[in-house]
């Protein structure tokens, strides 16, 4: 494989990696949002229980 072909493959690999990184990055933001929603749900539940207790 000559230099130009090797460089072509190298940049193709960058492109594929970039696509997967964007996908994984967005999935990670969804996961962190999910965690935040669960925490909010729990704190809301605790708040409602406290109010009922009073």
């Amino acid at each position: 494989m000559n230099d130009a072909a090797a460089r072509n493959f190298e940049y193709l690999a960058y492109g594929l990696i970039a696509c997967w990184l964007i996908l994984i990055g967005y999935v990670l933001t969804l996961v962190s949002r999910e965690r935040r929603i669960r925490q909010q749900m729990e704190s809301l539940q605790r708040m409602l229980e406290d109010k009922e207790g009073k």
Binding site: Y11, G15, L16
Partner: protein, 225 residues
Amino acid sequence: MREKILYALGAVAALILVRNIHTMLTGLPDEAFQGAIFRIIFFHVPAAFTCFLCFFASLIAGISYLKTKDLKWDTVAVSTVEVGLAFGAANLITGMIWARIIWGIWWTWDWRLTSMLICWLLYGGYLVLRNAIEEPTERARLSAVMSILSFSVVPFVFFSIKWFRTQHPQPVLYGEGKMDSGYRAMLYGNWVPILMVAICLVAVRMMQEKRQREIDAMRRSAHAF
């Protein structure tokens, strides 16, 4: 149950994508003029199609919200815009990587590239606008208007290579464009799993938005008491 189906769909799509990458690297020949880097088109073009499809869905959702005032349309709009932005970013970055090899530069202020970047920034602005407004109905109304206005750039991006002199390659799937049937099959074959991934992401994001809305409403009513 619905969540499990979505995760299964996402996993199947990821597997198809991995298989497609293997096929495009081992089963498809290099393009005669561009060499191996041509294969980036199998992600670059489907990412653009998916991005525009998401933005079109957000346009429909925006119009539907303004008509019905039903917040479910706002949920659809924000979810599709977010996912569309992710695929738009994939489109822009793969395009830049291709350009570095074929044109020798990462970026040029060409009609297609510039209009796509403006489109992406406009939809990015949509998300910034949403975060700046607290009141849900006001946020939904202004976001709907913003999504409708932002979509006006999409036809411009799509047809810019027809309307103006541009460095960007002419379309290969429609018009006078020609593409080898093997490449064409791979392009559409890769779009299917990419679309499946997009559907999963939109559905998951919609569920999250709905739950967030319920939490906010419950919190408001809890404070009211």
